[in-house]
Protein backbone atom coordinates (compact mmCIF):
# COMPACT_ATOMS: atom_id res chain seq x y z
CA UNK A 1 0.00 0.00 0.00
CA UNK A 2 1.52 3.31 -1.05
CA UNK A 3 -0.28 6.41 0.07
CA UNK A 4 -0.40 9.52 -2.09
CA UNK A 5 0.08 13.03 -0.77
CA UNK A 6 -3.67 13.54 -1.20
CA UNK A 7 -4.33 10.43 0.92
CA UNK A 8 -2.14 11.81 3.71
CA UNK A 9 -3.83 15.18 3.56
CA UNK A 10 -7.27 13.60 3.61
CA UNK A 11 -6.41 11.49 6.67
CA UNK A 12 -4.91 14.52 8.43
CA UNK A 13 -8.03 16.52 7.71
CA UNK A 14 -10.27 13.75 9.10
CA UNK A 15 -8.09 13.70 12.25
CA UNK A 16 -8.11 17.53 12.50
CA UNK A 17 -4.35 17.69 12.11
CA UNK A 18 -2.57 20.35 10.11
CA UNK A 19 0.62 19.13 8.43
CA UNK A 20 3.34 21.12 6.72
CA UNK A 21 4.94 19.94 3.45
CA UNK A 22 7.80 18.15 5.20
CA UNK A 23 5.43 16.31 7.49
CA UNK A 24 3.32 15.19 4.54
CA UNK A 25 6.42 13.75 2.85
CA UNK A 26 7.60 12.06 6.04
CA UNK A 27 4.25 10.55 7.02
CA UNK A 28 3.57 9.44 3.46
CA UNK A 29 6.75 7.32 3.55
CA UNK A 30 6.37 6.07 7.11
CA UNK A 31 2.65 5.25 6.98
CA UNK A 32 3.13 3.48 3.64
CA UNK A 33 5.89 1.33 5.15
CA UNK A 34 3.79 0.44 8.22
CA UNK A 35 0.73 -0.39 6.10
CA UNK A 36 2.90 -2.53 3.80
CA UNK A 37 4.10 -4.42 6.88
CA UNK A 38 0.47 -4.93 7.92
CA UNK A 39 -0.31 -6.56 4.60
CA UNK A 40 1.11 -9.82 5.89
CA UNK A 41 -2.26 -10.28 7.62
CA UNK A 42 -3.68 -10.97 4.15
CA UNK A 43 -1.82 -14.31 4.15
CA UNK A 44 -4.30 -15.72 6.67
CA UNK A 45 -7.58 -17.40 5.85
CA UNK A 46 -10.03 -15.63 8.14
CA UNK A 47 -13.22 -17.30 6.92
CA UNK A 48 -15.45 -18.01 9.93
CA UNK A 49 -13.04 -16.32 12.37
CA UNK A 50 -15.01 -13.96 14.64
CA UNK A 51 -13.49 -10.59 15.56
CA UNK A 52 -12.22 -9.92 19.10
CA UNK A 53 -12.44 -6.34 20.29
CA UNK A 54 -11.59 -6.95 23.94
CA UNK A 55 -9.44 -9.38 25.90
CA UNK A 56 -12.38 -10.38 28.07
CA UNK A 57 -16.04 -10.95 27.45
CA UNK A 58 -17.59 -7.72 28.58
CA UNK A 59 -21.05 -7.14 29.90
CA UNK A 60 -22.93 -3.91 30.10
CA UNK A 61 -22.55 -2.37 33.54
CA UNK A 62 -25.73 -0.67 34.67
CA UNK A 63 -26.66 1.23 37.79
CA UNK A 64 -29.73 2.92 39.16
CA UNK A 65 -30.25 6.35 37.64
CA UNK A 66 -29.60 8.20 40.87
CA UNK A 67 -27.73 11.49 40.97
CA UNK A 68 -24.40 11.32 42.79
CA UNK A 69 -22.12 14.15 43.89
CA UNK A 70 -19.99 15.51 41.06
CA UNK A 71 -16.88 17.67 40.95
CA UNK A 72 -17.31 21.34 41.89
CA UNK A 73 -17.75 23.55 38.80
CA UNK A 74 -14.64 25.58 39.60
CA UNK A 75 -12.52 22.39 39.68
CA UNK A 76 -13.86 21.35 36.28
CA UNK A 77 -13.21 24.77 34.73
CA UNK A 78 -9.79 25.13 36.33
CA UNK A 79 -7.90 23.61 33.39
CA UNK A 80 -9.86 25.33 30.62
CA UNK A 81 -7.92 27.88 28.58
CA UNK A 82 -11.03 30.09 28.34
CA UNK A 83 -14.17 30.06 30.43
CA UNK A 84 -16.88 32.46 31.39
CA UNK A 85 -19.99 32.40 33.60
CA UNK A 86 -19.31 28.82 34.71
CA UNK A 87 -19.08 27.57 31.14
CA UNK A 88 -16.34 26.60 28.70
CA UNK A 89 -15.88 29.37 26.19
CA UNK A 90 -15.41 28.55 22.51
CA UNK A 91 -15.56 30.46 19.25
CA UNK A 92 -19.04 30.89 17.76
CA UNK A 93 -20.10 28.03 15.49
CA UNK A 94 -23.51 29.43 14.49
CA UNK A 95 -24.11 32.54 12.42
CA UNK A 96 -25.85 35.35 14.19
CA UNK A 97 -29.51 35.59 13.26
CA UNK A 98 -30.49 39.04 12.08
Amino acid sequence: MTLSRDDVQKIASLARLELDEDEITLYREQLSAILAYAERLEQLDLTDVPPTSSALTLKNVLREDVAEPSLPVEDVLFNAAFHTENQFKIQAVLDEVA
Binding site: L3, D7, V8, I11, A12, L14, A15, R16, L17, E18, L19, E23, L26, Y27, Q30, L31, A33, I34, L35, Y37, A38, R40, L41, E42, L44, L46, V49, P50, P51, T52, S53, S54, A55, L56, L58, N60, V61, R63, L71, D75, V76, F78, N79, A80, A81, F82, F88, I90, Q91, A92, V93
Partner: protein, 486 residues
Amino acid sequence: MDISSLTLTELRQALRNGETTSVRVTEALLSRITALDNDIKSYLTINDEMALEESAAADGQLDREEPGSLLGIPIAVKDIISTRGIETTAGSRILDGFIPPYDAFVVNKLKEAGAIIIGKTNTDEFAMGSSTENSAFFTTRNPWDLSRVPGGSSGGSAAAVSAGLAYAALGTDTGGSVRQPASFCGLVGLRPTYGRVSRWGVVAFASSLDQVGPFGRDVADCAALFQAVAGYDKRDSTSLDVPVPDYEAELTGDISNLRIGIPKEYYIEGIEADVRAAVEGAVGRLGTLGADIIEISLPHTEYALPVYYLIAPAEASANLARYDGIRYGPRIEGGDLLESYKKTRALFGPEAKRRIMLGTYALSAGYYDAYYGRALKVRTLIQNDFLRAFEKVDIIATPTSPTTAFKVGERVDDPLSMYLADIFTLSVNLSACCGLSVPCGFDDQGLPIGLQLIGNTLQESTILNAAYAYEQATGWHRARPSLVAN
Protein backbone atom coordinates in the same frame (compact mmCIF):
# COMPACT_ATOMS: atom_id res chain seq x y z
CA MET B 1 22.42 1.71 57.03
CA ASP B 2 22.32 3.04 53.45
CA ILE B 3 18.63 3.75 53.16
CA SER B 4 18.63 4.03 49.37
CA SER B 5 19.95 0.51 48.88
CA LEU B 6 17.06 -1.10 50.75
CA THR B 7 14.29 -2.88 48.88
CA LEU B 8 10.71 -1.82 49.51
CA THR B 9 10.03 -4.80 51.77
CA GLU B 10 13.27 -4.22 53.69
CA LEU B 11 12.35 -0.55 54.14
CA ARG B 12 8.87 -1.52 55.34
CA GLN B 13 10.49 -3.69 58.02
CA ALA B 14 12.98 -0.98 58.99
CA LEU B 15 10.16 1.55 59.38
CA ARG B 16 8.10 -0.80 61.55
CA ASN B 17 11.11 -1.67 63.69
CA GLY B 18 11.73 2.02 64.29
CA GLU B 19 15.18 1.85 62.65
CA THR B 20 14.33 4.85 60.47
CA THR B 21 11.45 7.22 59.79
CA SER B 22 9.50 8.10 56.69
CA VAL B 23 10.68 11.71 56.89
CA ARG B 24 14.33 10.59 56.97
CA VAL B 25 13.72 8.25 54.05
CA THR B 26 11.94 10.89 51.99
CA GLU B 27 14.57 13.55 52.70
CA ALA B 28 17.34 11.14 51.73
CA LEU B 29 15.52 10.25 48.54
CA LEU B 30 14.94 13.89 47.61
CA SER B 31 18.64 14.70 48.02
CA ARG B 32 19.53 11.64 45.98
CA ILE B 33 17.16 12.84 43.23
CA THR B 34 18.81 16.28 43.34
CA ALA B 35 22.23 14.65 43.03
CA LEU B 36 21.46 12.12 40.29
CA ASP B 37 18.38 13.02 38.32
CA ASN B 38 20.00 15.82 36.31
CA ASP B 39 21.80 13.01 34.47
CA ILE B 40 19.10 10.34 34.50
CA LYS B 41 16.07 12.60 33.95
CA SER B 42 13.54 10.12 35.26
CA TYR B 43 11.17 12.65 36.84
CA LEU B 44 8.99 15.24 35.13
CA THR B 45 7.66 16.57 38.46
CA ILE B 46 9.05 16.14 41.98
CA ASN B 47 6.33 16.29 44.61
CA ASP B 48 8.74 17.41 47.34
CA GLU B 49 6.62 19.60 49.62
CA MET B 50 3.58 17.36 49.69
CA ALA B 51 5.78 14.25 50.04
CA LEU B 52 7.47 15.63 53.16
CA GLU B 53 4.13 16.56 54.72
CA GLU B 54 2.74 13.11 53.98
CA SER B 55 5.89 11.47 55.39
CA ALA B 56 5.50 13.35 58.64
CA ALA B 57 1.87 12.22 58.83
CA ALA B 58 2.90 8.63 58.07
CA ASP B 59 5.46 8.64 60.88
CA GLY B 60 2.62 9.44 63.26
CA GLN B 61 0.81 6.27 62.23
CA LEU B 62 3.69 3.80 62.18
CA ASP B 63 3.00 2.53 65.69
CA ARG B 64 -0.52 1.42 64.74
CA GLU B 65 -1.24 -2.25 65.11
CA GLU B 66 -1.94 -2.66 61.40
CA PRO B 67 -0.16 0.08 59.50
CA GLY B 68 -0.96 0.48 55.79
CA SER B 69 1.02 -1.93 53.67
CA LEU B 70 3.07 0.87 52.05
CA LEU B 71 2.91 3.31 54.96
CA GLY B 72 5.60 5.97 54.64
CA ILE B 73 7.22 4.44 51.54
CA PRO B 74 8.02 6.77 48.60
CA ILE B 75 6.58 5.51 45.31
CA ALA B 76 6.90 7.09 41.85
CA VAL B 77 3.97 7.32 39.45
CA LYS B 78 4.10 7.49 35.66
CA ASP B 79 2.94 10.87 34.42
CA ILE B 80 0.06 9.34 32.47
CA ILE B 81 -1.75 8.53 35.74
CA SER B 82 -3.85 11.35 37.20
CA THR B 83 -2.76 12.80 40.54
CA ARG B 84 -4.98 15.36 42.19
CA GLY B 85 -3.22 18.71 42.44
CA ILE B 86 -0.02 17.44 40.75
CA GLU B 87 0.59 18.27 37.09
CA THR B 88 -0.12 15.29 34.80
CA THR B 89 1.05 15.66 31.18
CA ALA B 90 1.19 12.15 29.69
CA GLY B 91 4.51 13.36 28.27
CA SER B 92 2.64 15.69 25.90
CA ARG B 93 2.63 19.43 25.23
CA ILE B 94 -1.10 19.12 24.65
CA LEU B 95 -1.55 18.49 28.39
CA ASP B 96 1.12 20.97 29.48
CA GLY B 97 0.02 22.48 32.78
CA PHE B 98 -2.90 20.09 33.33
CA ILE B 99 -3.68 19.71 37.04
CA PRO B 100 -6.12 16.82 37.50
CA PRO B 101 -9.12 17.56 39.73
CA TYR B 102 -9.12 13.98 41.04
CA ASP B 103 -6.84 11.00 41.73
CA ALA B 104 -6.80 7.92 39.54
CA PHE B 105 -8.13 4.79 41.26
CA VAL B 106 -4.60 3.41 41.60
CA VAL B 107 -3.35 6.64 43.20
CA ASN B 108 -6.25 6.52 45.62
CA LYS B 109 -5.26 2.96 46.47
CA LEU B 110 -1.62 3.98 46.99
CA LYS B 111 -2.73 6.70 49.38
CA GLU B 112 -5.01 4.29 51.23
CA ALA B 113 -2.01 1.99 51.66
CA GLY B 114 -0.06 4.93 53.12
CA ALA B 115 2.41 5.40 50.23
CA ILE B 116 4.14 8.73 49.63
CA ILE B 117 3.84 9.94 46.01
CA ILE B 118 7.39 11.17 45.47
CA GLY B 119 6.94 12.38 41.89
CA LYS B 120 5.71 11.87 38.36
CA THR B 121 7.94 10.03 35.92
CA ASN B 122 8.75 10.62 32.29
CA THR B 123 6.98 8.71 29.53
CA ASP B 124 6.77 8.60 25.79
CA GLU B 125 3.94 10.91 24.72
CA PHE B 126 0.65 9.18 25.57
CA ALA B 127 2.70 6.03 26.31
CA MET B 128 3.44 5.66 22.59
CA GLY B 129 6.99 4.46 22.36
CA SER B 130 9.71 2.11 23.58
CA SER B 131 12.45 4.48 24.71
CA THR B 132 11.00 7.74 26.26
CA GLU B 133 12.44 9.51 23.20
CA ASN B 134 8.87 10.42 22.24
CA SER B 135 8.40 12.42 25.44
CA ALA B 136 7.73 16.05 24.55
CA PHE B 137 10.00 17.13 27.39
CA PHE B 138 13.24 15.11 27.41
CA THR B 139 14.69 11.62 27.06
CA THR B 140 15.32 9.57 30.19
CA ARG B 141 18.67 7.78 30.40
CA ASN B 142 19.35 4.20 31.38
CA PRO B 143 21.11 4.11 34.79
CA TRP B 144 23.24 1.17 33.59
CA ASP B 145 24.62 3.24 30.70
CA LEU B 146 23.67 6.89 30.31
CA SER B 147 24.16 6.79 26.54
CA ARG B 148 21.31 4.29 26.27
CA VAL B 149 17.52 4.43 26.57
CA PRO B 150 15.75 3.00 29.65
CA GLY B 151 13.08 1.44 27.42
CA GLY B 152 9.55 2.70 27.30
CA SER B 153 7.07 3.93 27.44
CA SER B 154 7.31 3.72 31.27
CA GLY B 155 11.06 4.46 31.06
CA GLY B 156 10.98 7.19 33.70
CA SER B 157 9.49 4.83 36.28
CA ALA B 158 11.99 2.09 35.42
CA ALA B 159 15.01 4.41 35.53
CA ALA B 160 13.87 5.93 38.85
CA VAL B 161 13.58 2.55 40.58
CA SER B 162 16.78 1.22 39.00
CA ALA B 163 18.79 4.26 40.13
CA GLY B 164 17.38 4.16 43.66
CA LEU B 165 15.29 7.31 43.16
CA ALA B 166 12.07 5.53 44.25
CA TYR B 167 11.40 2.29 46.13
CA ALA B 168 8.94 1.13 43.48
CA ALA B 169 6.91 2.74 40.74
CA LEU B 170 3.75 2.44 38.70
CA GLY B 171 3.80 2.32 34.93
CA THR B 172 1.30 1.39 32.26
CA ASP B 173 1.64 -1.45 29.77
CA THR B 174 -0.33 -1.24 26.51
CA GLY B 175 2.10 -3.26 24.37
CA GLY B 176 5.01 -3.96 26.71
CA SER B 177 5.58 -0.58 28.31
CA VAL B 178 6.22 -2.03 31.79
CA ARG B 179 7.97 -5.30 30.88
CA GLN B 180 10.38 -3.94 28.23
CA PRO B 181 11.76 -1.08 30.40
CA ALA B 182 11.95 -3.50 33.36
CA SER B 183 14.09 -5.72 31.14
CA PHE B 184 16.30 -2.82 29.98
CA CYS B 185 16.80 -1.52 33.54
CA GLY B 186 17.22 -4.81 35.43
CA LEU B 187 13.93 -4.72 37.34
CA VAL B 188 10.87 -6.85 37.91
CA GLY B 189 7.88 -5.39 36.04
CA LEU B 190 4.39 -6.86 35.84
CA ARG B 191 1.65 -6.40 33.27
CA PRO B 192 -1.51 -7.64 35.06
CA THR B 193 -4.43 -9.32 33.32
CA TYR B 194 -6.69 -6.81 31.56
CA GLY B 195 -9.32 -5.73 34.13
CA ARG B 196 -7.29 -6.67 37.25
CA VAL B 197 -6.36 -3.03 37.88
CA SER B 198 -8.77 -0.16 37.26
CA ARG B 199 -7.99 2.24 34.41
CA TRP B 200 -10.08 5.01 35.98
CA GLY B 201 -8.09 8.24 35.93
CA VAL B 202 -5.40 6.86 33.61
CA VAL B 203 -5.02 8.95 30.44
CA ALA B 204 -6.38 6.62 27.75
CA PHE B 205 -4.18 5.42 24.90
CA ALA B 206 -5.69 2.14 23.63
CA SER B 207 -8.57 1.27 25.90
CA SER B 208 -8.80 -2.46 25.12
CA LEU B 209 -5.07 -2.92 25.83
CA ASP B 210 -4.10 -0.42 28.57
CA GLN B 211 -3.31 -1.70 32.05
CA VAL B 212 -1.41 -0.23 35.01
CA GLY B 213 1.51 -2.32 36.25
CA PRO B 214 4.13 -2.19 39.06
CA PHE B 215 7.95 -2.03 38.94
CA GLY B 216 10.03 -3.36 41.82
CA ARG B 217 13.69 -4.06 42.48
CA ASP B 218 12.73 -7.65 43.20
CA VAL B 219 9.70 -9.90 42.96
CA ALA B 220 8.48 -9.27 46.51
CA ASP B 221 8.56 -5.49 45.95
CA CYS B 222 6.64 -5.86 42.70
CA ALA B 223 4.06 -8.10 44.44
CA ALA B 224 3.69 -5.63 47.34
CA LEU B 225 2.93 -2.72 45.01
CA PHE B 226 0.65 -4.85 42.86
CA GLN B 227 -1.24 -5.90 46.00
CA ALA B 228 -1.90 -2.26 46.84
CA VAL B 229 -3.41 -1.31 43.47
CA ALA B 230 -5.25 -4.47 42.31
CA GLY B 231 -8.98 -4.73 42.77
CA TYR B 232 -12.46 -3.96 41.52
CA ASP B 233 -13.58 -0.45 40.70
CA LYS B 234 -17.17 0.23 39.74
CA ARG B 235 -16.08 3.31 37.78
CA ASP B 236 -14.18 1.20 35.23
CA SER B 237 -16.72 -0.94 33.36
CA THR B 238 -13.94 -3.36 32.34
CA SER B 239 -12.78 -3.86 35.93
CA LEU B 240 -13.01 -7.47 37.14
CA ASP B 241 -15.08 -8.08 40.25
CA VAL B 242 -13.10 -11.07 41.51
CA PRO B 243 -11.22 -11.52 44.81
CA VAL B 244 -7.60 -10.33 45.02
CA PRO B 245 -5.24 -13.05 46.33
CA ASP B 246 -2.50 -12.34 48.88
CA TYR B 247 0.27 -12.07 46.29
CA GLU B 248 3.12 -11.72 48.77
CA ALA B 249 1.97 -14.72 50.82
CA GLU B 250 1.81 -16.84 47.65
CA LEU B 251 5.55 -16.36 46.99
CA THR B 252 6.61 -19.79 48.27
CA GLY B 253 9.47 -20.38 45.85
CA ASP B 254 8.16 -23.90 45.19
CA ILE B 255 7.81 -24.58 41.46
CA SER B 256 8.10 -28.35 41.45
CA ASN B 257 6.09 -29.85 38.58
CA LEU B 258 5.20 -26.42 37.22
CA ARG B 259 4.77 -26.90 33.47
CA ILE B 260 6.67 -24.21 31.57
CA GLY B 261 6.06 -23.84 27.84
CA ILE B 262 8.81 -22.67 25.48
CA PRO B 263 7.23 -21.31 22.27
CA LYS B 264 9.55 -22.00 19.35
CA GLU B 265 8.27 -18.89 17.53
CA TYR B 266 9.97 -16.63 20.11
CA TYR B 267 13.46 -17.96 19.54
CA ILE B 268 13.95 -16.37 16.16
CA GLU B 269 16.65 -14.68 14.11
CA GLY B 270 17.25 -11.15 15.30
CA ILE B 271 17.58 -12.03 18.98
CA GLU B 272 20.97 -10.93 20.29
CA ALA B 273 23.19 -13.90 21.08
CA ASP B 274 23.69 -12.87 24.72
CA VAL B 275 19.92 -12.47 25.20
CA ARG B 276 19.26 -15.91 23.75
CA ALA B 277 21.98 -17.50 25.88
CA ALA B 278 20.76 -15.83 29.08
CA VAL B 279 17.12 -16.79 28.49
CA GLU B 280 18.01 -20.37 27.59
CA GLY B 281 20.15 -20.52 30.70
CA ALA B 282 17.25 -19.22 32.78
CA VAL B 283 14.89 -21.83 31.36
CA GLY B 284 17.44 -24.51 32.21
CA ARG B 285 17.65 -23.16 35.75
CA LEU B 286 13.86 -23.26 36.12
CA GLY B 287 14.13 -26.92 35.07
CA THR B 288 16.67 -27.73 37.77
CA LEU B 289 14.36 -26.02 40.28
CA GLY B 290 11.74 -28.66 39.54
CA ALA B 291 9.73 -27.29 36.63
CA ASP B 292 8.87 -29.36 33.56
CA ILE B 293 10.07 -27.67 30.36
CA ILE B 294 7.78 -28.35 27.39
CA GLU B 295 8.15 -27.11 23.82
CA ILE B 296 4.97 -25.48 22.56
CA SER B 297 3.81 -23.51 19.54
CA LEU B 298 2.08 -20.12 19.36
CA PRO B 299 1.70 -20.19 15.57
CA HIS B 300 0.31 -16.69 15.05
CA THR B 301 3.08 -14.89 16.96
CA GLU B 302 4.48 -13.19 13.84
CA TYR B 303 1.13 -11.46 13.28
CA ALA B 304 0.99 -9.80 16.71
CA LEU B 305 3.01 -6.78 15.61
CA PRO B 306 0.86 -5.82 12.58
CA VAL B 307 -2.34 -6.55 14.56
CA TYR B 308 -1.18 -4.37 17.42
CA TYR B 309 -0.15 -1.52 15.12
CA LEU B 310 -3.62 -1.43 13.62
CA ILE B 311 -5.70 -1.90 16.78
CA ALA B 312 -3.73 0.37 19.15
CA PRO B 313 -3.58 3.36 16.74
CA ALA B 314 -7.27 2.89 15.85
CA GLU B 315 -8.23 3.11 19.53
CA ALA B 316 -5.73 5.95 20.05
CA SER B 317 -7.18 8.00 17.20
CA ALA B 318 -10.56 7.85 18.93
CA ASN B 319 -9.17 8.53 22.44
CA LEU B 320 -7.01 11.44 21.33
CA ALA B 321 -9.89 13.13 19.52
CA ARG B 322 -10.79 14.69 22.91
CA TYR B 323 -7.76 17.01 22.84
CA ASP B 324 -9.34 20.06 21.29
CA GLY B 325 -8.07 22.79 23.62
CA ILE B 326 -11.48 23.43 25.13
CA ARG B 327 -11.74 21.67 28.49
CA TYR B 328 -8.05 21.24 29.35
CA GLY B 329 -4.62 21.91 27.91
CA PRO B 330 -3.42 24.95 26.02
CA ARG B 331 -5.55 26.39 23.21
CA ILE B 332 -4.05 28.04 20.16
CA GLU B 333 -6.77 30.14 18.56
CA GLY B 334 -7.25 30.38 14.82
CA GLY B 335 -9.79 32.28 12.72
CA ASP B 336 -12.61 29.86 13.53
CA LEU B 337 -13.24 26.80 15.70
CA LEU B 338 -11.99 24.30 13.11
CA GLU B 339 -8.78 26.23 12.65
CA SER B 340 -8.36 26.41 16.44
CA TYR B 341 -8.67 22.61 16.65
CA LYS B 342 -5.99 22.17 14.03
CA LYS B 343 -3.60 24.70 15.54
CA THR B 344 -4.08 23.28 19.03
CA ARG B 345 -3.63 19.69 17.86
CA ALA B 346 -0.33 20.69 16.23
CA LEU B 347 0.96 20.39 19.83
CA PHE B 348 0.93 16.60 19.41
CA GLY B 349 4.42 15.20 18.79
CA PRO B 350 5.42 13.18 15.71
CA GLU B 351 4.62 9.70 17.09
CA ALA B 352 1.19 10.72 18.39
CA LYS B 353 0.39 12.28 15.01
CA ARG B 354 1.67 9.19 13.21
CA ARG B 355 -0.56 6.90 15.25
CA ILE B 356 -3.59 9.17 15.07
CA MET B 357 -3.29 9.13 11.28
CA LEU B 358 -2.61 5.40 11.07
CA GLY B 359 -5.66 4.73 13.24
CA THR B 360 -7.84 7.21 11.37
CA TYR B 361 -6.90 5.50 8.11
CA ALA B 362 -7.49 1.97 9.47
CA LEU B 363 -10.97 3.02 10.62
CA SER B 364 -11.92 5.11 7.60
CA ALA B 365 -14.66 4.21 5.14
CA GLY B 366 -13.39 1.81 2.50
CA TYR B 367 -10.41 0.59 4.56
CA TYR B 368 -12.09 -0.56 7.80
CA ASP B 369 -12.57 -4.18 6.70
CA ALA B 370 -9.14 -4.47 5.12
CA TYR B 371 -7.24 -3.16 8.14
CA TYR B 372 -9.07 -2.77 11.47
CA GLY B 373 -11.65 -5.50 10.80
CA ARG B 374 -8.98 -7.96 9.71
CA ALA B 375 -6.81 -7.13 12.73
CA LEU B 376 -9.69 -7.93 15.12
CA LYS B 377 -10.06 -11.37 13.53
CA VAL B 378 -6.36 -12.15 13.78
CA ARG B 379 -6.55 -11.03 17.42
CA THR B 380 -8.94 -13.96 17.90
CA LEU B 381 -6.36 -16.35 16.44
CA ILE B 382 -3.64 -14.98 18.76
CA GLN B 383 -5.95 -15.42 21.77
CA ASN B 384 -6.77 -18.96 20.67
CA ASP B 385 -3.05 -19.80 20.47
CA PHE B 386 -2.74 -19.00 24.18
CA LEU B 387 -5.93 -20.85 25.12
CA ARG B 388 -4.56 -23.98 23.44
CA ALA B 389 -1.10 -23.55 24.97
CA PHE B 390 -2.49 -23.19 28.50
CA GLU B 391 -4.20 -26.58 28.15
CA LYS B 392 -0.68 -28.08 28.14
CA VAL B 393 1.37 -25.73 30.31
CA ASP B 394 0.97 -23.48 33.37
CA ILE B 395 3.20 -20.63 32.25
CA ILE B 396 5.21 -19.64 29.17
CA ALA B 397 8.84 -18.42 29.16
CA THR B 398 10.33 -16.16 26.47
CA PRO B 399 12.81 -13.31 26.17
CA THR B 400 11.19 -9.97 27.15
CA SER B 401 12.85 -8.08 24.29
CA PRO B 402 15.09 -9.32 21.46
CA THR B 403 17.85 -6.91 22.50
CA THR B 404 19.25 -5.12 25.52
CA ALA B 405 18.95 -1.32 25.87
CA PHE B 406 19.78 0.47 22.62
CA LYS B 407 21.54 3.81 22.19
CA VAL B 408 19.65 7.09 22.44
CA GLY B 409 18.89 8.22 18.89
CA GLU B 410 19.56 4.83 17.29
CA ARG B 411 15.97 4.09 16.26
CA VAL B 412 14.12 7.41 16.33
CA ASP B 413 14.08 7.86 12.56
CA ASP B 414 12.67 4.42 11.82
CA PRO B 415 9.31 3.77 13.54
CA LEU B 416 9.19 0.13 12.44
CA SER B 417 12.54 -0.71 14.05
CA MET B 418 11.30 0.97 17.25
CA TYR B 419 8.10 -1.08 17.13
CA LEU B 420 10.18 -4.29 16.91
CA ALA B 421 11.45 -3.69 20.47
CA ASP B 422 8.02 -4.85 21.67
CA ILE B 423 7.67 -7.87 19.42
CA PHE B 424 7.68 -10.39 22.33
CA THR B 425 5.38 -8.48 24.66
CA LEU B 426 2.48 -7.41 22.41
CA SER B 427 0.69 -10.77 22.29
CA VAL B 428 0.04 -10.66 26.03
CA ASN B 429 -1.86 -7.37 25.65
CA LEU B 430 -3.88 -8.67 22.71
CA SER B 431 -4.94 -11.71 24.75
CA ALA B 432 -6.30 -12.16 28.26
CA CYS B 433 -2.91 -13.17 29.71
CA CYS B 434 -0.65 -11.54 32.27
CA GLY B 435 3.12 -11.25 31.96
CA LEU B 436 6.20 -10.11 33.81
CA SER B 437 9.88 -9.50 33.20
CA VAL B 438 12.49 -10.68 35.71
CA PRO B 439 16.26 -10.06 35.44
CA CYS B 440 18.15 -13.10 34.09
CA GLY B 441 21.68 -11.85 33.44
CA PHE B 442 23.78 -9.29 31.58
CA ASP B 443 25.15 -9.00 28.07
CA ASP B 444 28.84 -8.52 27.25
CA GLN B 445 28.43 -4.76 27.75
CA GLY B 446 27.03 -5.15 31.24
CA LEU B 447 23.43 -4.37 30.25
CA PRO B 448 20.56 -6.21 31.96
CA ILE B 449 18.58 -8.95 30.19
CA GLY B 450 14.98 -9.85 31.04
CA LEU B 451 13.14 -13.17 31.08
CA GLN B 452 9.42 -12.86 30.30
CA LEU B 453 7.02 -15.20 32.07
CA ILE B 454 3.47 -15.28 30.72
CA GLY B 455 0.53 -16.56 32.76
CA ASN B 456 -3.05 -17.42 31.93
CA THR B 457 -5.92 -15.09 32.86
CA LEU B 458 -5.55 -13.87 36.49
CA GLN B 459 -2.61 -16.21 37.14
CA GLU B 460 -0.38 -13.40 38.40
CA SER B 461 0.50 -15.42 41.51
CA THR B 462 1.81 -18.28 39.38
CA ILE B 463 4.20 -16.15 37.33
CA LEU B 464 5.27 -14.07 40.34
CA ASN B 465 6.08 -17.24 42.25
CA ALA B 466 8.06 -18.75 39.35
CA ALA B 467 10.00 -15.47 39.05
CA TYR B 468 10.56 -15.52 42.82
CA ALA B 469 11.94 -19.08 42.74
CA TYR B 470 14.29 -18.13 39.89
CA GLU B 471 15.39 -14.87 41.52
CA GLN B 472 16.13 -16.51 44.89
CA ALA B 473 18.21 -19.16 43.12
CA THR B 474 20.23 -16.73 41.01
CA GLY B 475 20.45 -13.33 42.70
CA TRP B 476 20.56 -11.21 39.50
CA HIS B 477 18.15 -8.77 41.15
CA ARG B 478 20.79 -7.78 43.71
CA ALA B 479 23.01 -6.17 41.06
CA ARG B 480 22.84 -2.36 40.98
CA PRO B 481 24.13 0.09 38.36
CA SER B 482 27.53 1.48 39.37
CA LEU B 483 26.07 4.97 39.31
CA VAL B 484 24.17 3.94 42.39
CA ALA B 485 27.12 2.36 44.14
CA ASN B 486 29.28 5.50 43.77
